[in-house]
């Protein structure tokens, strides 16, 4: 059983981590969508790979960012 102050602290961390991850994720999706449009945006475009893996060019920094956010949370959660 956690005290209210502990809970509040956790909730604050969750708030920060949650928003950070939401933003990172949807930012990634922006890049993916732009990449998608670049390759598939023209109706006349040649047939591309249907499962266009649009983010593979930069997975490391992304994972680092998400990891950092979650890390922060888990750290504070011990």
């Amino acid at each position: 059983m956690m005290s209210v102050s502990e809970l509040l602290y956790e909730a604050a961390i969750l708030m920060v981590v949650g928003m950070v991850v939401v933003f990172i994720f949807l930012t990634l999706l922006i890049f993916a969508t732009k990449l998608l449009s670049k390759f598939a945006g023209q109706e006349e475009a040649p047939v591309n790979n249907p499962v266009q893996p649009s983010n593979l060019n930069a997975p490391a920094p992304v994972i680092a960012a998400i990891s950092a956010a979650i890390h922060q949370y888990k750290q504070n959660n011990k």
Binding site: V4, L7, L8, L14, T33, A45, P53
Partner: protein, 376 residues
């Protein structure tokens, strides 16, 4: 004398507890809101009716052998019904406006602050005597701010089944109240000049982009947020069925008969959780209050984000669009359009608002995944 008492005992009159009567009135209120006021009637009518049935003494609707018991057990406890609704909603959703202007995803992200701030607020309510929300409870309550019924029901069924009734009622009620809750906030945070900003016309989106988009969303979710894949996956399945154009009969069934059948059952099952001991608590008041706060904050941060983006963008962005980021599809987009027209009778924002609107659906499903991963 004894005989008369036996008779009396076989009617409900003798067996009513005050809590059951109050819950029936709550059910009646929901029916009134659904039928007379037109508040989200597709859900609130069956929910209200379910609440009435569930609180009939001696009838046993929610006990083993009762029809509402089976429906809840089969459809909500397994999570199957909200996921099927989400599939149907996916089959109804057009991501065209979002693909044409993907930066609108930032608005869908910003509006989710309503969720996480409310999580904090729910925990803070524990400082008030009588409240005792766990992190799971708080997370399930906070998702009301996502303005998405099936997401709220799915998360509540996983994290806080006891609060499911109140959370679902709050979520659908506030979604119905979007035209009342949002405009004052939108006007308070914007100047008339900002509200008059015209957006340039969106480009045509190709069929191929529309087919690949749900797959891209699913792909990213798989990589980074597996916990969100039940919701996002079923949503993307519905959208892919629609956009692929090769399974129209499945897509039509998913967005018509199947979603209708599941909606009836889902509503009744949610209503069956509106029992006095679970609903007539001080927590319910807290949930109703927090839900209103969540919607308001989400609307506000959406608008502020749009203003921020407008500063850094070469083309101006009408900040009203940010309000659509809470989702509540398509109500919030219509509200944006209406408030925009009030400022400038020639400024039609509806199509532009559909972008952040559907982004908000993805945003809250992602937020639900985060909460499941970290709290569940």
């Amino acid at each position: 004398m004894e005989g008369l008492q036996t008779l009396w005992a076989s009617t409900a009159l003798a067996n009513f507890e005050i809590g059951q009567i109050v819950m029936m009135l709550v059910g009646g209120l929901l029916l009134f809101l659904a039928i007379k006021k037109g508040f989200e009637p597709l859900l609130l009518l069956p929910i209200g009716f379910g609440a009435v049935l569930a609180n009939i003494p001696l009838a046993g609707f929610t006990e083993p052998g009762g029809v509402l018991y089976y429906i809840y057990y089969v459809g909500i406890e397994t999570g199957v019904f909200p996921l099927l609704i989400f599939m149907g909603v996916g089959a109804m959703t057009d991501f065209g406006a979002l693909i044409a202007n993907p930066r609108m995803l930032f608005l869908g992200a910003a509006a989710q602050f309503g969720i996480f701030a409310t999580l904090f607020g729910a925990i803070a309510l524990n400082l008030v005597p009588g409240f005792d929300f766990s992190l799971k409870d708080a997370s399930a309550i906070a998702i009301i701010g996502g303005a998405d019924g099936p997401t709220a029901i799915f998360l509540a069924s996983k994290l806080a089944p006891d609060l499911l009734g109140a959370i679902a009622v709050a979520a659908y009620s506030y979604m119905a109240l979007v035209p009342i809750i949002q405009p004052p906030i939108m006007k308070a945070l914007t100047t008339p000049e900002e509200r008059k900003i015209k957006m340039e016309q969106l480009r045509q989106v190709s069929k191929k982009e529309k087919i690949l988009f749900p797959l891209a969303v699913l792909f990213l979710t798989i990589l980074f947020l597996p916990a969100a894949t039940p919701l996002v996956g079923m949503f993307c399945l519905g959208n892919l069925m629609k956009e692929s154009g090769v399974v129209d009969r499945l897509s039509n069934t998913a967005q018509n008969e199947l979603i209708n059948i599941v909606t009836i059952f889902l509503g009744l099952a949610v209503g069956s959780k509106l029992s006095a001991d679970q609903f007539l608590t001080i927590e319910t008041l807290g949930i109703l209050g927090l839900g209103a706060v969540a919607f308001s904050i989400g609307t506000g941060t959406g608008v502020l984000m749009a203003k921020l983006m407008s500063k850094f963008s070469d083309k101006p962005i009408n900040p009203l669009l940010g309000a659509a980021g809470v989702s509540a599809v398509p109500m919030a987009a219509r509200v944006v359009n209406k408030v925009g027209l009030e400022a400038n009778p020639h400024n039609f924002l509806l199509m532009h608002a559909m972008g952040p609107n559907v982004a908000g659906v993805l945003g809250s499903a992602v937020a639900a995944g985060i909460l499941l991963a970290l709290v569940g």
